[in-house]
């Protein structure tokens, strides 16, 4: 896989957007994914306008109502309007998704860049990363949540920590192969400061794969948040996240399956949107990565 070009194959901005446009035409899934995601974002931002009831308004008289014109998605065991709760739940999922992606990518990038260049750092850090990667992410996140206690910030941190090792791995492998490139070797041998090499030559080439990886982390973080909330180790129960709504519906599943199915459907749709976007970006930006995944 030796690429013998002397020019840094940096993707110019205009070329990147140009290729994106072309790819969107070629892969309608990207368009589908991004429009679905936009809808979700709109739903999250406009939640106070879209709601028909207060998401926390308890009305014991209306408990466990089937979907109707009054309660579009029905009500839960406290008589809260499921539709309004689901609409508000989108905020949590998207917040966790974006938060985890941003934190794990930036921390993973920083660690990964250093491991690629500092031998002693690499030796220590990669042992730790190997260890962390040997703990299934769900369990690691559960363990961290059990320690830290329920809050949205902790959920984001716990999932991010579980995701970071994979980002480090990716960045490290990119750096190691980039380091063999003639233009990087040239920069190293001519005594260019490390920081400058990282910023000028290495960083730009990690962006495309990281963007793709970021969307996948976004998607899996939304699922992980729901999983944590569902088993009672995630978002505090008073916040209407999709995982929490589903957890509350567990006992009533046979009589009122809609309590689980509506948030489940929206969660699936949101994850699907991000996955479609990720697949499209991957095909567009990095055909080699497309082979690997």
């Amino acid at each position: 896989m030796a690429i013998t070009t002397l020019n840094p194959p940096r993707i110019a901005k205009s070329r990147l957007t140009g290729r994106l446009v072309a790819q969107i035409k070629r892969h309608p899934t990207v368009a589908l994914g991004s429009s679905l995601l936009l809808l979700m974002v709109a739903m999250a931002l406009l939640a106070p306008l879209l709601q028909t009831h207060g998401p926390q308004d308890i009305s014991p008289a209306d408990r466990l109502q089937n979907p109707s014109s009054e309660f579009v998605f029905g009500t839960d065991m406290l008589g809260r309007d499921l539709y309004s709760r689901v609409v508000h739940g989108s905020k949590i999922s998207l917040l966790v998704g974006v938060g985890v992606a941003a934190i794990s990518i930036s921390v993973g990038l920083a660690i990964g860049l250093l491991t690629g260049f500092l031998r002693w750092f690499d030796a220590i850090v990669m042992r730790i990363m190997d260890g962390l990667m040997s703990i299934p992410p769900v369990l690691l996140a559960i363990a961290l949540m059990a320690l830290a206690g329920a809050s949205i910030q902790n959920v984001i941190m716990a999932i991010a920590i579980a995701e970071i090792p994979r980002v480090v791995r990716l960045v490290r492998s990119l750096v190691l192969s980039l380091r063999e490139e003639p233009y990087v070797e040239a920069a190293v041998s001519s005594g260019t400061p490390l920081l400058r090499i990282l910023i000028r030559h290495i960083l730009p080439n990690t962006l495309a794969p990281l963007l793709v990886q970021g969307t996948y982390i976004f998607a899996s973080a939304m699922i992980l948040e729901a999983i944590l909330s569902f088993i009672g180790a995630g978002t505090p129960p008073e916040i209407p996240s999709w995982g929490n709504i589903m957890a509350e519906g567990r006992t009533y599943f046979q009589s009122a399956p809609f309590i689980i199915l509506f948030p489940g459907f929206f969660l699936s749709l949101a994850v699907l949107a991000v996955n479609l976007l990720g697949d499209g970006l991957r095909d567009a930006l990095d055909p080699r990565l497309a082979r690997r995944l």
Binding site: G131, S134, P136, A146, I223, I227, I260
Partner: protein, 313 residues
């Protein structure tokens, strides 16, 4: 090859060491003082201090880690705070359902996903390929509990052909055992199967573009022989690799699946422990699952030699 296996085994020691350190830290930093809990409400401060000394809780971090790891190596995973029983015993009690569930899921997922991936690669670009890959994306996107509840709704509530939940040991009859495992395995296996199908397709596509596949066709072999005899073995390494890595997804999914289907396995044990803040149990389960995960990936590494004669260690 023997020396390779030994070498790989040795390489897992530092990995497991880090796992152990993380897991140990979990208990070390956990809120609450075990000594206070054990001493009970009526204990004096003096009693608590005594218990603490007895348990070695006043020792520094690394000394305690050493003591703990020494115990673990002898099969002592500590004592449950809630039930006051050895964690190792609790785990042994819950082992069977989890093993049954994961093994059946792996079999179902691999048996389903590999052929589908091969067909998708063979028919790349056609409607069949798109349908298979569409299902794969869905498998990635629909979380395990949504699939689980949907399956329950369809097959147990509406059609009433399969039990809603629960677990029946194989010793109590094979048919009920299988009946109770079908839905959980399908739900748990969806992501895993999606992952395997995608990798199988990608790996096969890569192989099918190789020169030796053209050579095989030039001999007059038919499509099936080309795919199964010449291509699949070459495509196997990435496939078994992802099966190994995918076990992590499976383990994560077990926790949820057992909760939804009320299966009394390790997943349920974990969830109950979380709700009760029973840290030694959480610790023990994570340690066990991580060990299994590392071990399976060790097996995967060794299996490379079987698939590719060029790999000799």
């Amino acid at each position: 090859m023997f020396s390779y296996i030994v070498q790989r085994l040795l390489a897992t020691i530092p990995v497991m060491g880090v796992v152990a350190l993380v897991v140990f830290s979990l208990l070390y930093f956990s809120p609450g003082d075990p000594a206070t809990i054990i001493a009970g409400d009526m204990a004096s401060e003096e009693d608590v201090r005594e218990i603490r000394e007895q348990m070695g809780l006043d020792q520094p971090y690394f000394v305690r880690f050493g003591t703990w790891i020494g115990g673990v190596l002898q099969g002592d995973l500590g004592t449950s705070i809630f039930t006051n029983r050895p964690v190792a015993d609790l785990i042994m009690q819950r082992l069977e359902p989890t093993v049954a569930l994961t093994v059946s899921t792996m079999i179902v997922a691999v048996a389903l996903a590999v052929p589908l991936g091969i067909i998708a690669a063979w028919k790349a670009g056609t409607a069949i390929d798109r349908i298979v890959m569409g299902f794969a994306v869905l498998g990635f996107s629909v979380p395990v509990f949504v699939i689980a509840y949907t399956l329950i709704l369809i097959f147990s509530v509406w059609l009433e052909v399969l039990p809603v939940q629960g677990y029946v040991s194989i010793t109590e009859g094979f048919l009920p055992f299988v009946q109770h495992l079908i839905l959980p395995s399908l739900a748990l296996g969806a992501v895993f199967a999606a992952l395997i199908a995608r990798i199988t397709r990608a790996s096969m596509l890569e192989v099918l573009s190789q020169d030796y596949v053209r050579t095989a066709k030039s001999k007059g072999l038919n499509q099936k022989e080309v795919l199964l005899r010449h291509a699949l073995k070459n495509a196997a390494v990435p496939i078994v690799t992802i099966i190994g890595i995918g076990v992590a997804l499976l383990i994560g999914g077990v926790v949820i699946t057992e909760t939804v289907f009320a299966i009394p396995g390790l997943g349920r044990l974990t969830v109950d422990a979380i709700l009760r803040r029973d840290y030694p149990i959480i610790q023990g389960v994570i340690l066990l699952f991580s060990f299994v995960y590392v071990f399976i990936n060790l097996l995967v590494d060794v299996s490379y030699c079987f698939f590719d004669p060029r790999i000799r260690y």
